[in-house]
Amino acid sequence: MVYGPQHDLGTPPGAGPHIALTIDGATVRVPAGTSVMRAAALLGNDIPKLCATDNMKAFGSCRLCLVEIEGTRGTPAACTTPVREGMVVKTQSDRLARLRRGVMELYISDHPLDCLTCSANNDCELQDQAAAVGLRDVRFGYDGENHLAMPPDGSNPYFDFDPAKCIVCSRCVRACDEVQGTFALTIDGRGFASIVSAGTPVDDFLSSECVSCGACVQACPTATLTEKSVSEIGLPQRAVVTTCAYCGVGCTFRAEMRGEQLVRMVPWKEGKANHGHSCVKGRFAYGYAKHADRITTPMIRGSIDEPWRPVSWVEALSYAASEIRRVQATYGMRAVGGISSSRCTNEETYLVQKLVRAGMGNNNIDTCARVCHSPTGYGLKATFGTSAGTQDFDSVAAADIIMVIGANPTDGHPVFASRIKQRLRQGAKLIVVDPRRIDLVRTPHIEAAFHLPLQPGTNVALLSAMAHTIVTEGLVDEAFVRERCDWDEYREWAAFVARPEHSPEFLEAVTRVPAADVRGAARLYATGGNGAIYYGLGVTEHSQGSSTVMAIANLAMATGNLGRPGVGVNPLRGQNNVQGSCDMGSFPHELPGYRHISDPETRAAFAADWGVALDPEPGLRIPNMIDAAVDGAFKAIYIQGEDILQSDPNTRHVAEGLEAMECVIVHDLFLNETANFAHVFLPGSTFLEKNGTFTNAERRIQPVRKVMEPPAGLEDWEVTQKLAQTLGLDWNYTHPSEIMDEIARLTPTFRGVSFAKLDAAGSLQWPVNEAAPEGTPVMHVGAFTRGKGKFVVTDYVPTDEKTGPRYPLLLTTGRILSQYNVGAQTRRTANTIWHQGDVLEIHPSDADNRGVKSGDWVRLASRSGETTLRALVTDRVAPGIVYTTFHHPQTQANVVTTEFSDWATNCPEYKVTAVEVTASNGPTDWQSAYREFSDRARRVEDVEPAE
C-alpha cells in the first residue's frame, strides 16, 4: 500500500433509512443522519475542512466547509448540516471559494511559514486545504499579533506539542473527550487567547492526565501534535495493515514505513476491534523490536554455569534435537514437552503443539493461557458448549448495564475501555466488582452505580448472593430459561442459590460487601435492560476460578442475557493471542478446536493428516511440568515466547524445576529470566517480522503482516519447522497460509478461514463454516453450542490460603497501562518513564500501623518467599489488602505468590496470597543472589558463530 492518509469522510456515518440528494449535479443515496460533508465525500467531492474528522461529532468551528443549498439562506457548514430528501447542494462556487480563502487567510496569518522544514510537510491538512481553496496571498500580512513565539512542549517521550502551529480546531480536545474519554485536554482562554492546554496551567503533557493514547496526535490536522519519530525519520513511504501484539483487544494498525524503518503505528480506521483508536502500548511502544538487547544469533551451552556460545542455526537445532531424543531415550517419551505462546501467531502455536504431539509423541503441551484464562475455557465450555466469549466488542454499544468483574479495562484493555466509557456517557449503568477502586469506578463523567469491593477470594460467594437475590425476588427470565436451558438443572441450581446461607445478608461476613449493595446490583443487572458482563483475571486466577466463570454464566442465563447484541459473557483476554493459542490446541488435553485428546474420532483425523499415531492420554500442564521436573521425571522443554520464571507463581519453585531439567530450549526475543536456566537459545521474531494471524478476545481472526525482516533471518514458525525437521518430521510449509489451510481442514470452527478470505474481509470471527461463512459476531443466538444451556451448581469453597498472625494481609496482583505482563517488551521502550519499578499499594491504616510512608522500601513476605519494593500509600485498596504489579524482574513479585491454583485447571491463585509488609532498607537475600546468578548466566562468549 503506497503511503497516504486514510480517506477522511469528515463526520461519522448516519444510521437512518437511505434518502437521496443531489450534490454538484450527481445523485447520492445515504442514510438519514449523514452530514452533507460525508455525503459529498462518499461521492468523491471532498469539501475543504479543518475541524471535522470522521471519528468525532461535527463541531462546526473552522467555517471552511461552507456550501450552498437550494432554498436555504446563506452558506451553511457542510459538517453540521444533515442531508434531507431531495436536497440540492453545491460544494463549489465563486462565492464559496472567496469565503474559504478569506477563512484560510486568517489561519495562515497566524501560522509559521516553515513548511519546507516542518515535520508534517506534505502530510498537513492545513497545507492541503490552503492548496484546495487556492490560497495565493494573505492580505492581513504576518506582522500582527500572533502565537508564533509560544514554546513547544516536548515532555512526552513519543510526541511533541508545538502550540505555535495550532489552529485551535479542538480536534485534539474532542479526541481526548469523545474517543479516548480521558478529558485531559481543554481549550484554555477565550477568543484570540484560546490555546490547547493539557491538565492545569502548571502541567505539561507528561505531568497531565494524558494517557498517551495518541488520539490527539492522530486527530491534529497540522504539525502541532506530531510523533517524534516522524520528526526524526521523515514521512512514511508505504503502509501495511497489521495487528497489535499487546493485549487481547487486537487493535489493527497501519505500520507506516520508510524503507525497512518503522516510522509510526497509526490505528486503522477500518479495524473492527478498535475502529481507529489505540493505546500507548500499541501506538508507541514498539521500539523493543530494535532494542540492543535483541539476541540475533542462536546460542547453546552444555550447562547453565557456562557462558553462552553463539552458533549457527544448524548447530543449535541439531543440538536441541539430539538432546530431546537423548532425554527421551534415557527417561521416556513423556519426559519432554513444550510451551506455546499467546504472543505468537495462530500458525506458530499450532506448529508448537503439533511438534510436541507428532514429534515428541506425547501431549505435554501447554500455553501461558494456563496462568490466565484456562478457567474461562473450562467454565464456558461446561455451561455454553464452547470456550470463548459470546459477543463482539461492538455489542457494548447496545448494553444498558455493564458489569465489570475482576478486570481493570482502562489499564489492561484501554481501547475497549474507551468503548465502555462512551456507552456509559450515553447513559448505560455500571457495576464494578473488584477489591480495588479501579479507575472506572469514578472517572470524568462516569460513576459506577455500584462498586462491590469484595474480599479477595470470595467471587463465588458474591455471585451466589447476587443469584440468590435474582431467584428469590422473582427476577429470573423464566421464558428464556425454559426455552434455552436444561430446566431440571436450572431448578437444582435455583434451589441451591435460594438457600438462606446464600443470601447477601448471610454472606456479607464473607464478602465484606454490604448486603444492600449486592441486592441493588443484582436487581439492576437483572432488570435494567441488556446486561453485559466483562471479566478478567480477577475472576480466573483463584482457587475457584472455573467455578466463578460458571457462576457468571449461570447469572447470564438466569436473566436471559445471552444470544443477542448488548448482552453476554465476555472474558477480556490478557495477551494478544490468548484466544488463538487456546483455539489451536495448546492445552495438553485438547486438540485444535477444543476436542479432547481421548476422542478416537478426532485423534484419528489428526493422526491421518499428520501421518503419526497420537498419544491418547492428556499431558502435563505447566505447573505439573515444573513439579515433575523437581521430581526428576520431566527433563527437557521447548519454550516459545514465554518467560515462566518471571510470570509463573512461586518463582523459587519454578527456578528449582528449570534447574533440574537437562535441556531447556528458549525461543524468544531476549535473554529473559527463564533463559538464565536454558541450554539452547533460539532467536525469535517480533510481530513486525512475521506473517500469520492473531485471534482477539472477541474470536476475531486478524492478519499479522511482515513489515521488516527478522534480524536472525527466520520467522518463529520457520524455527519450529526446522526443529521439527531436525527431529525427523517431514514438514514443508512455505508460508503460514499453508498452516492455516491445515488448521481449517482439521478444525470445524475454522473450516471457512483462509488467508485469502481474511485479506478480503479484513477479519473473521469464528465459527467460520458452512453455517456461518462470514463468521459469527454473537454466539448462542437461538440455541447454545451445546444445545441446552447448562446451569452448574457452584458452591463457595474458601481458599486454603489463609491470613493469620504471621501473614495478616492479602496480596493481589495486576498490571498497569504503560507496562505489559513481564515487561520484556515495554521495559525496553520509553514507557518506563511512567513506571520504573513495581510498587506496593497499601492502605493508609495498614501503612500507619507499620510505620510505612509512600516511597519507602518495604519487605513483602509470604510463606513462599519475600521481595522488596517501594510503597505507595493509597485508599484505592481496602484495609487488609495490598496490591502490586509483576512487570519488573528486579522485584519478581511472583517470588511471593504461592502454588495454590484453580481446582479444575491449575490456573495459579495469583489474586490471593497471605503476606506481611515491613519496613526494609535493602534487597532480600533472594534478590541479591538472583541478581548475581542472572548476571553470570547471561554471559556470552565473544566468538564468531561457526557456519
Partner: protein
C-alpha cells in the same frame, strides 16, 4: 516427591468444588475430571497413594481414585 504432595491436595480440591450433590456424585465427577485432565504419571501417583492407605484424602476424593483404579491403569507411552 513434589507431585505426590500436591495430588492429594488437588484431588480433595476437585472433590470439594466439582459438585454440591451427594458424595457419590462428587466421587464420579472427580474421577471423570482426573481422567480427563491429569497426565498418566499423576494418576499413577494418586492411585499408589490410595493403594497405600490414602492418607489425608476426603472420602469423595478417595472414592474417585477407587473408581479410576477399577477402570484400569493409565496407558503407557
Amino acid at each position: 516427591m513434589i507431585t505426590a504432595e500436591k495430588t492429594v491436595h488437588m484431588a480433595n480440591q476437585i472433590a470439594r468444588s466439582i459438585a454440591a450433590g451427594s458424595e457419590d456424585e462428587a466421587a464420579r465427577a472427580t474421577a471423570d475430571h482426573i481422567a480427563k485432565f491429569w497426565d498418566p504419571r499423576m494418576r499413577q501417583i494418586i492411585l499408589d497413594h490410595v493403594a497405600e492407605g490414602g492418607e489425608d484424602m476426603l472420602p469423595a476424593a478417595r472414592r474417585a481414585v477407587e473408581i479410576l483404579r477399577d477402570q484400569g491403569p493409565p496407558r503407557p507411552a
